[in-house]
Structure formats: C-alpha cells, structure tokens
Amino acid sequence: MNDFAIKTTGLTRYFGGKCAVDQVSLAVPRGSVFALLGRNGSGKSTLTRMLMGLLEPTRGSANVLGEDCRHLSPAARGRIGYVAEGHPLIDWMRVRDLESFQKSFYPKWDGRLFKSVVDQFGLPSDARAGRLSRGQRAGLSLALTLATRPQLLVMDDPAMGLDPVARRTLLEAMILVTRNAGHTIFFSSHVLDDVERVADHVAILDKSVLRVSCPVEFFRARIKRLVLTFGGTPPPLPPIPGLLEARRDLTQLRLTVANPGPELEQLVASLGAQAVTEVALSLEDAVIAYLGERGEKPSLLQSDQLEAVAS
C-alpha cells in the first residue's frame, strides 16, 4: 500500500500567462495532519482544487489515494471528504435536506457523527443553509463531510472568517477524524495557532513555489532567530545565506534564518557582537518570518523614538 495519501510531481497550473502553482512536488503521509500555508494568492486553493480534480493541471501529475487526480474514480471520491473554501452549500436546502441529500451517496453514512457535529455548532435542522452564519456554515459543511467517514479529509481554508469559538469547535471536529488510524487531513489555513495545535506536517507555498514540506518540529528546528547585541550601532549586514528577516534597533540585530549551519556561525562571529542569543520561535513566528519580505527591514520607529523607548 502507498505510504502517501497525496503525492504530487511537478504539479503546475497557469491561468493565462500567470503561473499560480509552479512545479509543486510534495507528499502527504498517510495518517498525518498536513497543513498547507501561504499568503493570499500563493496558490493554495488552486493546488487543492487540482488535487480534487476540479481544475486541470497545466503540467505535472498528482496521485490522491493512489489515483490520478485528473481521473478520480467515484470510489476514490467516496473516500475523500472535501470542504471547499467559503463552505459552499446548496443555499435553499435546509440542514435536514442537506443531510438526506449527502446521505444518499454514502452507504457508510454516520448519522450520529453528523448529529454530534451539528449539535456542537448549534444548528437547527430546519434552518436553510443560505441563512446560516459563517461559523454555522462551516460546521454544517464539516458535519456533511465528516459523516461520510473519509479516509482523507481535504479542507481549503476551513477557518476563514470564523470566530474563535467556532474555530475551536472546528478543530475538535477535525480531531475526531484523526482518531482513526491511517486517516489523513490535508488543509490550508491562515490561522497559524490552529495549525500549531493540530498539524504534524506543514508545507508552505511562497509565490506559487513550494519552499517547505516537512514535519512541524523539523520546520521549527530549521528556523532560528538570533539576537546579536552590540556595544554601539550594529554594523551593516553581509549577505547571509538563508536569511529570512533582519531587524535592527539601537544596539541589536535580530536575524531569522532558515537552515542555520557552520557558515552562519562564522558570519555571526565576524560581525563582532558582544552577545549572541538564540530565541525560541513559535510556529506562527517562524511562518510569518518565512512568508514576510526577505532581508533587512527598516524599523517602523525612527532612531530618536528608539532611544526614547530604550531609555
């Protein structure tokens, strides 16, 4: 049996002359909770829609549960739960209509699970989908998908626009899926706090290009923040390989780097800092540093303001 729920090779998509996804090759291990991160417009939704066979790749290939994403069989679709961006539903249908609609396609429909998720989100069964709040739509969408007992749950930004309570409920519902061994979740998100809570693997799309694909801890271990303290104004920075972000204040340089190695240590030593401190990074800080503008950034505060803050 294939060890990967999803495996793509050089997956590429153009819209006209614009490249939305550029030769993405990634593998999602079975049983993992895989988070796909990236800024708006980085190609997350395009990648997800290609994986679901809703968009033709311009080039490259992708296998989902062992089948080519261009020709997913009905049986494979039956094993994949998909929650699209914005939780699209048939708006005129009531909650109970949507349940019976969805149930008719899935012989292994789990009515109890559906009810428990729906109850968690406080959804009345006679409410029309079009009149639900964004959080309720997300809950209904998730309930409709989870009750199919999918082996692979694919969600495109499921937490978009949800309040913290709804997000927490959504996370709990997601965790339900992972109780079954071998079940996989692949989701894209901007909410890094949630990603940190549930994801064990992370991938980052940066301007259509896949730059990161690894376990979360591996990623955190590869992103370091160093605080260099100087006696006076920090010297100009030489080119530093893997530099994600550099911030400067009166006597300090804060460097965030990827893949630190001996070369970095030599470069740091050559700057003549009085002290070098390594600061632990949360996943959120690491991803923000990763997705932000590269290189040294000007401080938002002027130097006299910085002196005032320092005094």
Binding site: S25, R59, P74, F105, A203, S213, G242
Partner: protein, 663 residues
C-alpha cells in the same frame, strides 16, 4: 442519482412554475386572437418561440446555478461520475420541460377540440405541429446545457451553440412533410449537441483533452452558430451598404401585365421610383387609379400537377408541409353565418356556425348533410385552390370538378375528366370581379390537354392546353368586358426566349390572335458584386469562388468583380496567415496545426473564429536552455527537448524526505 434528480426538481421547480404561468397566459392570448392550432401565424409563433425559450432557459439555469467553483466542487465531489450527475440533471430538466410545455398545450388542445369553442374542424393530426414544437424545445434545452457548461473565452462564443438549435428549429419549420421527418431533424440536432454538452459538463475544462466525438460535435455546434451570427451580420451589412450607396434604385424589373380590357402591357417597377406602364410598343400609358383593382377578372393558374403523388417535394413542402395549415384543412369560404373548410385528413367539406361555433353539416356527393349525420367523405382527395386572387367556387379531384355555392349549401359536378387525362387544377372565380360593372365570375378547369372555362356552371370555352409545366410556370386567364378570353402562358425559363405566349379567344372560344412576347430587356438585374462584399468575406472561400464562376457563367459582367476577387484572395491569405499564427499559440500538435490550416483554407474567416472560440491561448515562457519561447503545457521544450527548470532555490527551502514529492 435520485438525490440529484430531486434536487434539480426542487431547485428549478419555481422557475418552471413561473414559465408554466407565462406560457399558459401567452397560449390563452393566442387562442383568443386566432383560435386554431394550425393557424398560419399566431400559434406557430407562440409555440415555435415559446418552447425554445423555455427549453433554453431551463438548460441554462440547471448548469449556471452549479457553475461557481465552490458549488461545482460540492456537487461533483461525491462517489458518482459526472456523467451520472448530468444524467440525473437531464432527466429532471426534461421532466420539468415537458410539464411546462405539455400542461398548457394540453389544456389548449382540449379547449380547441371541445365543440362550441372554435368554428372550425378539429382532427387529432392538427395537434402534431404543436407537439413537434414542444419536442423541438428539447434541442434548445440541450443547447442551454451546452452553453451553460462549456468553458469559453467570452460570452459571444459561449452562446454560439444556440445557433445549432436555431438551425434545427428553422429546418423543422420548413422542411418536414410529416412528424417522422420533424423527429428525425430533432434527433440529428440532439445527436450533435448532446455529446458536446456531455463533454463540457463531465469532461473538464480543457477542450483539447475531451473525447474526439465530443470535440467534433461541440466544434460543429459552435461553427453552425458562427455561420448564423456572421451570416446575419453580413446580411445586415450588405443591406445597409446597398441602402446607403443607393444601388437598389438602379435595380428594377419589367413585367407583362394584363390591362382590364385584356391587352398586354409592360409595367416597370423600381424601388423608390414611381411605376410606369407602356404598351408593347413602348408608348407610355396612364396608370390605373388606385381604387381600380388591377387584377380584376384575372385568374392565375399554377401549371404544376396538383396530384400529391406527382408534386415536387418543394411544392408539397410549401403547400402541405407538416407545419402548414394546408396539410390539415383549407378554408373554402365564409359568410356571416358559416365558415366552410375542406378537411384534408377526413377528405370532407364541413361547415361551422359562425356564432354558435358548432358543426352544421357537410357538403359531399349527397349534397348537404346536416350535423346529425357524420361528415361525408369524397372518394378521392380534393384540390382546393387557396391563392390570393380567387374565390373558392370550385373544387376538384383528379377525376371530377364540382362548383360550390356555399350560401345555398349546394355542390354540383360540372366536369368529368376523360380517362388518361386527369384534372390538373380547378380554380375561380377571380377574387376581384365586379358584377355591377363589366366582369362576370368564371371558373376554370385545366386538364393535362385542355382548358375549360365555366360561367354560371355552364362551359363557355373549351380549348387545347398548349404548354404545361415545366415549360410554363403559370397560366393567366383574363375575361374582357366584351366576353373575350385572353390566355397568357408564362415561361418557366427566365434565360430563354420567349417570355410568354398569349392566345386571344372570342366569346365562342375561337382563336383570334396568337402572340409570342419577347423577353423584356431588364428583369431583376443583379446587384453589383461589390455590394455583396460583407457576405463574400464571411463565406467560405470555396463558396466565393463558386459564386464568382457562376456569375461569369451567367454572363453577369460586372466591372467590380476583379477588385472584389483580389480583395477576397487577399483576405483569404490574411486568414490563413492568422490561422498559422494562432494555431502556434494553441499548443496543438503539428499534425493538428496543419489540419487547421487546411480546414481554414476551405472555411476562411468562420474557420478562424471557430479556432479562436474552441481553444485557449497557451502561455509561453522563455526556455532557459535554448532561449526560445516554449509552451507551458509541455513537459519538454518543443525546440530543444529540455525539461522545465525547477524554481530557483533561495537557500531557505526546508524539505524532509518524508513529505517531499521528488526531493
């Protein structure tokens, strides 16, 4: 499947109900205006336009409502194939369509068939044209599905498949002689549209990757639509060009006309110029006063055989086509009390009370039989003339002609044909006779060899028929005020001499004069070729070439044809060059590229627009290996076979072997 079917019914039910109400209202208005199922205008217009609109709207609604990316994903991501989803949609859509179409139509048919509602006969066959219109709406429904589901560059080309349904509707209106032929047309059109619709819905967005049959049929649908749109545009441009440049004023036609006294005159008519009349020597004559009927006491008799077995298909189509009223019944007269019809399907003449709208009886071999008895059929099919210049005072079969007097409700046999010389036609009296002045009503019976003229039921003239179809197209018979008859045989060969043969007979039927009239100098002179330029530009080059060769073969010399030919050749060349450029942008295989170039060499501009409508332009980027621009869809450069370079690493990449596809 069932869930999709029910979802479609519920989702589109409200729209269907709205359409049902609208169609019912329009049908009710139509029946109040012209209470007939097979009338010449109102009912065919309502069902011929209403059902297509309903079908197209339903097809569009069913596809467009699910076309947003999110909704499309929700609908299609389930353990059934897209073909199954489409099947359920089609089944629901067709059910809704037939509910919307057949409920109001059924009520309308029931109302018309109920005695006391319409002062006209009813036969179940009269419902067939309207049922055909309802079934024909399925072509539009399928076109709606294709238009809604097909990915297209812009809304104009997206709408093109509707042109195929339009052509199907027009063909079903004009060509079929029976329901079977109409159904065959619908089946052919559906066989063209449905595979394209299926592929557009189920096959994905990339046209080039759809099955070949779907690509061919979708391409054909779009091509037919393009021809319709470009043809309409070119036709409009041509008429505007002719109107603005005034070339129409130079056109005109000269025709021979009867004077009320039986003399032959020459009338000249041209757009925008007052008509002029001269005698045969060219001497100008005063025009008739507008109040004086110009066709008084003249019968125009078509010289074609009216036996349906000997009729040409074109004539049967024109007179007894499936959608024509004449296939089912023909009005043979009305007065303030009654309407009389020859009912083709029963071979009877039936009368209806004009006020109570009830059947009053039939006219047949036994005379008038009241409504208590069943209508009496004639032993043979009857021919009833329905031209605009005569009153129905005589009807005939191949063997016998009968004079009718509808006010007295009598029918009298006036002529029996000799064996081997069947009746071609019986006609008369003329529409515009005026008994208070000088004209006398007369009827005419023409057999294959003789012409018989009757006045008040008695034969006045009996003369040999000199020319028959196809040598002549019509026989015009004029009765003068002094009782002479002039017979003019109009030639059916516009390019040959003579134009007409004219025989003048005295009141006893003896030949007084025999005149052969020469062809008139100008008859419908063709427009200059340059005025057809818009049509020539959008027509396939092969058709243009044929048109120019034909014009030369017809000795239509035109000083503008050389510049027009050069312009067309240049335009054809530009089209070919544009095709060459465009096919290279479409990422097609070399073989497909040459096939398109060859195809567009035959089709010209419509072929180029078809190419642009079907395929998307593929982006090109510079190949880092050879520097030439390469298509982004190909794994390897088409110039140097180099694969695509990976995105340049920035030194920040973090990959673990467990989650990197090929790193």
């Amino acid at each position: 499947m069932k869930a999709i079917f029910i979802k479609e019914l519920r989702e589109n039910g409200k729209w269907a109900a709205l359409m049902l109400v609208a169609m019912s209202a329009v049908l009710a208005w139509g029946l109040s205006t012209r209470p007939s199922l097979v009338g010449d205008f109102v009912m065919p217009l309502i069902t011929g336009c209403g059902f297509p609109v309903i079908g197209f709207a339903l097809g569009l609604l069913q596809t467009l409502q699910d076309s947003s990316p999110g909704r499309w994903g929700f609908l299609t991501h389930r353990p059934i194939t897209r073909a199954q989803i489409l099947s359920a949609k089609l089944l629901a859509g067709i059910c809704l369509y037939f509910l919307v179409a057949l409920i109001p139509l059924g009520v309308a048919i029931y109302w018309v068939a109920t005695p006391g509602h319409v002062a006209a006969p009813f036969a179940w066959q009269m419902t067939l044209p309207r049922l055909a219109d309802a079934i024909g709406g399925l072509m539009w429904y399928a076109a709606g599905i294709l238009v809604g589901a097909r990915h297209a560059r812009w809304i104009g080309s997206r709408l093109m498949p509707a042109g195929t349904a339009l052509v199907g509707s027009i063909a079903a209106l004009w060509f079929p002689l029976n329901m079977g032929e109409a159904l065959l047309i619908f089946a052919i059109v559906l066989a063209i549209i449905l595979p394209g619709a299926w592929a557009a819905f189920a096959g994905g967005e990339d046209f080039a990757r759809q099955p070949i049959i779907a690509r061919w049929t979708a391409g054909l649908c779009v091509l037919i639509g393009l021809f319709c749109a470009l043809g309409a545009l070119a036709g409009f441009s041509t008429s505007m060009l002719r109107s603005l440049t005034g070339v129409e004023r130079d056109r005109g036609y000269n025709v021979y006309e009867f004077a009320p006294d039986g003399r032959m005159l020459i009338a000249r008519e041209s757009p925008g110029i007052p008509a002029s009349v001269t005698d045969l020597q060219g001497k100008p004559l005063p025009l008739l006063a507008e109040s004086e009927p110009t066709r008084a006491n003249i019968l125009v008799v078509s010289m074609e055989d009216n036996d349906p077995q000997h009729m040409s298909r074109e004539r049967r189509r024109d007179e007894q086509g499936f959608q024509r009223e004449g296939k089912y019944l023909r009005s043979i007269g009305s007065n303030e009390l009654a309407h009389w019809y020859y009912v083709v399907t029963r071979n009877t003449i039936e009368g209806f009370n004009a006020y109570r709208r009830e059947y009053i009886g039939s006219l047949g071999l036994a005379g008038f039989v009241r409504a208590t008895g069943s209508p009496q059929p004639f032993p043979e099919p009857m021919y009833v003339s329905q031209d605009e210049y005569s009153n129905p005072g005589i009807v005939a079969s191949a063997k016998t002609a009968y004079e009718l007097d509808l006010s007295r409700r009598t029918i009298v046999p006036v002529f029996d044909a000799e064996p081997g010389d069947p009746i071609l036609i019986a006609d008369g009296p003329p529409m515009f006779y005026d008994p208070d002045k000088w004209s006398v009503p007369f009827t005419v019976v023409v057999t294959h060899t003789t012409v018989h003229v009757f006045e008040s039921g008695k034969e006045r003239i009996h003369t040999a028929l000199k020319h028959v179809f196809p040598e002549t197209i019509s026989l015009e018979i004029c009765r003068t005020s002094d009782g002479r008859y002039v017979l003019a045989y109009q030639s059916n060969h516009p390019e040959k001499e003579p134009a007409e043969w004219v025989d003048e007979l005295d009141p006893q039927g003896r030949l007084l004069h025999e005149t052969v009239l020469p062809r008139l100098p100008v008859r419908n002179s063709p427009s200059p070729i340059w005025t057809n330029t818009p049509i020539l530009f959008v027509a396939p080059p092969a058709a243009d070439l044929w048109a120019l060769i034909w014009a030369r073969s017809q000795m239509i010399s035109d000083p503008s044809d050389l510049p027009v030919t050069i312009a067309l050749a240049a335009f054809g060349l530009i089209t070919l060059c544009a095709t060459l450029l465009v096919v290279r942008q479409m990422g097609l295989s070399r073989r497909a590229q040459w096939a398109w170039v060859l195809f567009n060499g035959l089709l010209g501009f419509p072929g180029l627009t078809l190419l642009l409508s079907l395929f998307d332009r593929i982006a090109k980027i510079a190949c880092p290996s050879c520097g030439k621009r390469r298509l982004v869809t190909r794994e390897q450069c088409e110039h140097c076979n180099a694969p695509f370079a990976r995105p340049a690493p920035e030194g920040i990449e973090v990959f673990a072997s467990t989650s990197a596809g090929d790193k």
